[in-house]
């Protein structure tokens, strides 16, 4: 594969073939998109990542034929995955408030997460631990903002909530870290 090829360009012909019922293309597409889906699910549903990944992949492939523009594949996968990961996380998550000591240990979340996303690597254990202690709604906005780099309007559309709510959730999620810094 060409190292410079953009992921959506690589995916597009596979999407078209999979939409025509080509199982081998579907399998290739599954291999291509699973790391991305996992990277989104791990911080949103840390206790049930495998379930969230599986539910997301099922939803993606069930809905694949309805996707009109194959170049929009990754954006659409992101929307489907976030919806499924939030659903799975809410199903099982004990929404326990963050433990201040944990937060102190993990105050580097934002730069570390951005760096991990930039390098395309997995989040560090510390980052995951901290995210796991935040409520699902806070986890989700942090992941979309700092890992995926989405703006507030796109996040609002994706999560189907008003833009103002996105802003306040982001602000509350981040205030946990500010508190940690002052300790």
């Amino acid at each position: 594969m060409d190292d410079d090829a953009r992921p959506w360009d690589v995916a597009a012909p596979l999407v078209r073939a999979a939409q025509r019922g080509d199982a081998l293309a579907m399998d290739d597409l599954l291999g291509l998109v699973t790391p991305y889906v996992t990277r989104l699910c791990a911080p949103i549903a840390p206790a049930d990542t495998a379930d969230a990944v599986q539910e997301s992949l099922l939803a993606v492939f069930r809905g694949l034929r309805g996707l009109r523009d194959p170049l929009a594949f990754y954006g659409w996968v992101r929307a489907v995955t976030v919806r499924e990961a939030v659903r799975v996380a809410r199903r099982t998550a004990g929404e326990t408030p963050a433990d201040p000591e944990q937060i102190t240990r993990l105050r580097d979340l934002l730069p570390a997460a951005a760096e991990a996303a930039g390098a395309g690597t997995e989040l560090t254990t510390e980052v995951r631990d901290l995210l796991a202690r935040l409520p699902v709604r806070h986890r989700t906005v942090l992941v979309l903002r700092d890992l995926e780099g989405l703006d507030e309007r796109t996040m609002a559309e994706l999560l189907d909530i008003p833009e103002g709510t996105v802003k306040s959730r982001l602000s509350r999620a981040r205030s946990s870290f500010r508190k940690a810094w002052t300790r």
Binding site: A18, R20, G21, D22, A23, L24, M26, D27, L30, G31, T34, P35, T38, A42, T49, A50, V53, Q54, L57, L58, F61, R62, L64
Partner: protein, 151 residues
């Protein structure tokens, strides 16, 4: 973390194909024995799938091969085959078939999936699911058990 195991992967492919045949069963046989039967396509597939009379696979252990199937009526068709431990996905112009297995304690969890290529026969799939899907899958699992017992 690693990707989905072969069975989870087959569930996703089956969902994408809207496959009329998809079933899983735990067999009380070790994984190596079950997979030895399933992966021996040339010798075993005609015993496992009623409409396959012959299945010719080129020698070698490549994960991607082009095989030739001869159906019950004597019609030949090329198949693309992907074969790896616990994973087999095969596709011709007309049909798709997948098999996946993972160890489950001392036994094996085996899954099978079958679909026709939608552009050609899509509307047939829904009726087929109700009428024949489950029966086909049950017959497949019984056949794997029977063939494993002969080894």
């Amino acid at each position: 973390m690693n990707g989905p195991d072969p069975i989870a992967r087959l569930r996703v492919v089956a969902a994408g194909l809207r496959a009329p045949v998809y079933a899983e069963r735990r067999l009380d046989l070790p994984f190596d024995l079950v997979w030895a039967v399933v992966a021996d396509l040339e010798r075993e597939l005609p015993h496992l799938i009623p409409f396959v009379r012959e299945f010719r696979v080129p020698a070698g252990d490549s994960e991607r091969k082009r095989a030739t199937a001869v159906d019950a009526l004597g019609v030949r068709g090329p198949f693309e085959v992907r074969l790896a431990p616990g994973w087999c996905l095969m596709q011709s112009r007309l049909v798709t078939m997948g098999m996946a297995a993972v160890p489950d304690g001392t036994g094996t969890r085996l899954a099978v999936c079958g679909a026709v290529r939608p552009a050609l026969l899509g509307p047939v799939q829904r009726g087929y699911r109700r009428l024949l899907g489950e029966r086909r899958a049950r017959a497949f699992f019984r056949a794997v058990e029977r063939r494993a017992a002969l080894r």
